[in-house]
Symmetry: C2
Subunit: 388 residues, 2 copies
């Protein structure tokens, strides 16, 4: 039986697992990632909007602070990644325009603007005409919009590739197999056995397996994180040179109450998303999902009809009861979490890496102040034990 | 340089080229097919409706006779193919239901019914309620329809695979390379040079290259057939067992003037088509094409929203000025055509094979009476020379 020893085993090689492993290895920890196909995961499907301000939700002001902290870190983060690897991440500081089509949509966007303003966030209300001046492909029916110059984008597939390379260069070991089960001894998690039979002994194990994190074998039921899959269907279109630039920034819209967005990349890709479906582990692309995305996007930007449709895909977001991530130590010694990022995994990658590195290297094992509200202990029986 | 000698060279290994080669070889002719990927072509994209009656068009009564003749041959044709190869073609004598949604669509379908009746064709008018009794997944808004029990379906991909195998078994040589140019000597076509350098000497050469037939190098311009590409986009959905049977027969509809159809296979595939676009050689699947197909199909059968969308594809139909095929000899000795089948290639496969075998083996080289109206000489300068 093959064995592997490390200080930190990261279960899951998506962007959250990769950034955690990279940062841990940079701090001198012997780090391994277990994943049959690192660099994949939900980020392979995601659009890569860094939309802290335009995606603001009522009741999520605490999460907003973390989102803004991570957005602030993005320019330095991608510069560091590119310097380390020579790989471009597709980071594009292009801003976002959120538009409304009918009176109800406009009212909803006005409310969002008022909420943003009350929190001191920068967003500028534009008339429909001004929206079309900024983005001439917008439908004549667009009635107004919010210009948010601070919400940018990155290409999640390139980001994952760069993180994978950076982690390799920092000395992270990649164990290309799934975790069959984790192993405990004397109330402490001691490592894992992989599907290929490898036995991994680890000082600490970080679960970063996205929505799979809630069903890893061997973890006591009362410690399993409360993450569930939320399906997202997404389309990729191509903007032929004759139609370029088509859109110059991310365009979001509320269309009859549902949300749609179009993210134009510099390489001509146009990402169109996304559904949000509570349908268990199903990852089928459905006729209805594709239809609704195309219908809503067509109402906002009718010119998409001419564009080649190059990819249809579905993925699973790891959602938690409060839509915020689960970070840091759990009630089980040796087990930490970095999961539950739901819609914000790409945005929260830089800050998650920094927070997890702090947890893994500090004497106390506590999250740094900016991430303290997102401790893995805030749900379930584990929390009750601690707070009694 | 490699050389190959044969009585008949068929340029193009789609279903029309394959059936021609198979029938020629059965008659004892040494036959070769030149195609880099035989068994492909427009049939790889097509839905496989055998809809002579429901696809009836005004002004195409002559073509109707050929379509009906071919539909009549289908049961024996697929039985012969399966006996020869052991391969199933997915032939399904399930009938067709053509439905209408709004008053205009209903009027159009009523006109079609009157026209069908005037020609002695069998089609039964049904109320909307009777349509839904036959196919419970139909939308409540369906206002009536035509039940055509004689319009069936076949699976074009399976058909192509069976034809390829049958041709191989009958001794057809497959030259897996494209034709670079045909060769002429003394006003006679004598064969072709392939892209891989092979030189083919052929007594007769049959152009069966679909819409490519109009741009084969080496053919004098006044002999080149007047075929043009007509793009069709098509979708494939999957009916999970929990939703089966979903539809029991082919459902066609006129939706706000456009046509959409749903062809349910016994293996759970549901084919949804098709656009008809005059857009040159472009074969991109577009956001607009997919959107319109899903929108129209959703209006007719709302339950498709639940079904996985497994494939999006576009192909090129070989269209002629009168939408009918070009068969038999041309003004250039040694060159024959079997192309231009437009929307009816799958339906016309049996009768085309029989007619071409007649042409290739009769002393006169004339088409048999049932195909005489579709001679390759009926268009262009070649015809004028002959009729002056």
């Amino acid at each position: 039986m093959r064995t592997h020893n490390c200080d930190v085993l990261v279960v899951g090689g998506g962007i959250i697992g990769l950034v955690t492993a990279w940062r841990a290895a940079q701090r001198g920890l012997r780090t391994a990632v277990a994943d049959p196909a690192p660099g994949g995961g939900a980020a392979h499907v995601a659009a890569g909007m860094l939309a802290a301000v335009t995606e603001l939700q009522y009741g999520e002001q605490t999460l907003l602070d973390l989102n803004l902290a991570s957005a602030d870190r993005y320019p330095d983060f991608v510069a560091e990644l590119t310097a380390a690897t020579g790989l471009d991440t597709g980071y594009r500081p292009c801003g976002t325009l959120a538009v409304a089509l009918d009176a109800d949509d406009r009212a909803q966007l006005r409310d969002l603007h008022a909420f943003q303003t009350s929190l001191g966030l920068e967003a500028q209300w534009l008339s429909g005409r001004d929206c079309r001046r900024l983005e001439p492909m917008l439908a004549p029916g667009v009635r107004g919009g919010l210009r948010v110059d601070g919400d940018h984008q990155v290409d999640p597939r390139r980001l994952a590739a760069a993180l994978l390379r950076a982690a390799e260069l920092a000395g992270v070991a990649f164990l290309r197999s799934a975790v069959a089960r984790v192993e405990c001894a004397a109330d402490r998690l001691t490592g894992a056995v992989l599907a290929d039979g490898t036995s991994v002994a680890a000082g600490r194990t970080v679960l970063a397996a996205g929505c799979e994190s809630g069903r890893i074998a061997g973890i006591p039921p009362d410690v399993l994180p409360p993450v569930r899959p939320v399906k997202g269907q997404i389309l990729r279109l191509r903007v032929p040179p004759a139609h370029a630039p088509f859109l110059s920034r991310t365009v979001r819209a509320v269309v009859r109450g549902s949300h749609v967005y179009l993210v134009p990349r510099e390489n001509g890709e146009l990402v169109l998303g996304a559904t949000s479906e509570e349908s268990g582990w199903d990852t089928a692309v459905t006729a209805g999902g594709v239809y609704e995305l195309l219908r809503d996007a067509h109402d906002v930007v009718p010119g998409i009809t001419e564009l080649p449709l190059t990819e249809t895909l579905a993925g699973l977001r790891p959602a938690t009861p409060d839509n915020a991530p689960l970070l840091g130590r759990t009630a089980l010694d040796g087990l930490l979490l970095a999961t539950g990022h739901h819609r914000n995994g790409v945005l929260l990658t830089p800050v998650t890496g920094d927070a997890m590195a702090e947890v893994l290297t500090s004497d106390t094992g506590e999250l740094p102040p900016y991430a303290a509200a997102f401790g893995a202990l805030r749900f379930g029986p584990a929390r009750q034990e601690l707070t009694v």
